[in-house]
């Protein structure tokens, strides 16, 4: 079983109130020097059999139609090394 990871992030121009809250909390806890935080989602897809180019294309399709909303989000797809 191979694993494909899809990371979904809000587009840079979209406000991320959760990331903003985390960024504000960090210095309060003594974690200095962090300029900004954006919070995203990570999907782990366990794939049966080999991860072929065809299968990856299929997953990109899923990421575009369901896992992300292209109006506000970008995504990346990568194969996790075994």
């Amino acid at each position: 079983m191979a694993r494909v990871v899809v990371d979904v992030m809000l587009k840079p121009e979209i406000l991320d109130p959760q990331g903003k809250a985390v960024a504000a909390a960090l210095p309060r806890l003594g974690f200095d020097g962090i300029a900004a935080v954006r919070q995203g989602k990570r999907f782990e897809l366990d794939v049966e059999g080999e991860v072929t180019e065809e299968r990856l294309a299929q997953i990109r399709g899923a990421a575009e139609t369901l896992l992300s909303n292209p109006v506000i989000e970008d995504f990346t797809v990568r194969v996790e090394p075994a």
Partner: protein, 225 residues
């Protein structure tokens, strides 16, 4: 025969019974539509109600968008069927690309339930023709992810084309860009609104009866046809 207005129930829809009650009070026959039934049963208009379809997991409205009922609904909406999406229904319409933009978590990160003043900016839609432009109304607003966002070009276009249906008056309650509470498609038959007009149809249970005009507007339009 009274006009028939469908109200779709998705798993996790919550304000569907309220929307049906509002439809009835406006004088139409409410018709319950089931998400898994790819048939609109000949209704004259459709309301996508509020709630947390599929728990709002993934993104609000993202899973409901792929429900079987949405296939005929999207096709009919493109042909002019009046569709009103309230709150979660608005999110479904955005996810379905019937309306531009998207709805994200409130900027203050809390769920908020308040009686909200809105100004009606466009009366050129199927659902707002009974209001006057600039009219202020008070209806409940209750959501956790009600911040309307879109890129500047889209927002400019919406404003230029008169497709901003309603805007928040006073403090922006959820961080919506340009205070936008509701938008319409170019034809004006599809409207998405974050506040809840169906909760302002009886003085006994709502802050006002200002919301009823959404439902009477569409009825008057249907009778006129």
């Amino acid at each position: 025969m009274p006009s028939r207005i469908g109200v779709v129930t998705f798993p996790g829809s919550l304000d569907d019974a309220d929307a049906r009650r509002a439809v009835g009070l406006a004088g139409a026959e409410p018709v319950a539509l089931w998400h898994a039934d790819a048939d609109l049963h000949g209704v004259d208009a459709v309301v996508l109600p509020g709630g947390f379809s599929y728990g709002d997991y993934l993104r609000c409205g993202a899973i409901a968008r792929f429900a079987p009922v949405m296939t005929p609904l999207v096709a009919a909406a493109k042909d002019g069927l009046p569709v009103l999406g309230i709150c979660n229904g608005f999110q479904v319409l955005c996810e379905s690309h019937l309306l531009p933009g998207a709805l994200v978590r409130n900027d203050h990160r809390k769920f908020a339930c308040v009686d909200q003043t809105l100004v009606i900016e466009s009366t050129d839609t199927a659902w707002t023709s009974g209001y006057t432009t600039g009219q202020q109304i008070v209806v409940p607003l209750k959501n956790g992810e009600g911040g309307f966002v879109a890129d500047d070009r889209t927002l400019d276009a919406l404003e230029a084309e008169g497709r901003v249906v309603a805007r928040y008056v006073g403090d922006n309650p959820n961080g919506s860009y340009r205070g936008i509470a509701g938008v319409a498609n170019a034809a004006g038959n599809v409207v998405g609104l974050m506040p809840h007009p169906e909760h302002a149809v009886e003085l006994l249970t709502g802050p006002t009866t200002d919301g009823l005009t959404f439902f009477t507007s569409v009825l008057n339009g249907l009778v006129g046809v």
